[in-house]
């Protein structure tokens, strides 16, 4: 278990998250892919804190703040997903074009 192995794992998770984000059409599935990418960032925080940090506790505290911010973001995003579904009856991001300029 080395720093490189941990970082490679995080990069792989991030790449998988990117793939999911670009291929999914359900809004909630896109949020799930985003969670994967945020998780990859957290793994980087902890790996660097463990292997390189002068002040390792600060690294862990940073990851905790990132987790809290993610929880906030998910609460808002899912509330928006629910209200969009209530209004349109679907969550297909290819059909949600309300905010798009029709002339473009």
């Amino acid at each position: 278990m080395t720093l490189q192995a941990c970082l490679l794992l995080a990069f792989l998770l991030f790449a998988i998250g990117i793939y999911g984000m670009l291929t999914r059409r359900n809004a909630i599935a896109i949020l799930i892919s985003m969670e994967l990418m945020l998780n990859a960032a957290n793994i980087n925080f902890i790996a660097f804190a463990h292997y390189k940090a002068v002040d390792a506790t600060a690294g862990a505290v940073f990851a905790i703040f990132a987790i809290a911010a993610t929880a906030c973001e998910m609460a808002i995003a899912l509330a928006i997903a629910i209200i969009v579904y209530r209004r349109h009856g679907f969550l297909d991001v290819d059909q949600l074009t309300e905010l798009r300029d029709p002339d473009v």
Partner: protein, 179 residues
């Protein structure tokens, strides 16, 4: 050949489960199944945090992500799907483009990681222990995190109120049949 240390074996098992869970999460058709695959990824990353001696973050990962966020997601999926709905699929072209970008990032990652020199763990005495995290979070000294701690509490409160406000239906615009 020497036997691998237990920690390394555990790390590789965790990594394989994590990547497999993530791949399942983005490839299965049913969104509910992908939320369940996400639990596997989150749980294995909690195990990874334990391996890296960040116990508190590992416990927070299980409590906040698996106990909170995944439950949120599952509830939202159940509220926004109806029976017999066919799963939305992206076109083949889009899948190829997405796979290309994912591969590009992986290749870049491998190239970058070759530049990083190998380091040994710092292994400080109280690395991210529960006691040191608690003291740092509430310390008012220069190295303390009391201000961001209070700010994030406020952010949590505001976003929860915001979420309720967004999803709330005022009485007069309730759709017909909704009691």
């Amino acid at each position: 050949m020497d036997a691998l240390p237990l920690k390394d074996i555990l790390f590789y098992i965790t990594a394989i489960i994590m990547v497999a869970g993530a791949l399942l999460t983005v490839t299965v058709k049913n969104v509910l199944h992908s939320a369940i695959a996400l639990i596997g990824t989150f749980f294995s990353s909690a195990v990874l945090y334990f391996l890296l001696h960040a116990e508190f973050v590992g416990v927070a990962q299980v409590m906040v992500y698996i106990g909170g966020v995944v439950v949120f997601i599952v509830l939202a999926i159940l509220l926004t799907s109806h029976l017999g709905e066919e799963a939305l699929e992206a076109s083949k072209r889009r899948k190829i483009i997405a796979a290309f970008f994912a591969l590009l990032i992986s290749v870049l990652a491998v190239m970058l990681l070759r530049e990083i020199s190998s380091v040994t763990p710092t292994e400080t005495e109280d690395f991210a222990s529960l006691a040191s995290i608690g003291k740092r979070l509430l310390s008012t000294e220069d190295t303390g995190f009391i201000l961001p701690f209070e700010a994030i509490s406020l952010l949590l409160l505001i976003s929860l109120i915001g979420a309720i406000t967004i999803a709330y239906i005022p009485k007069e615009d309730k759709p017909a049949g909704d009691k």
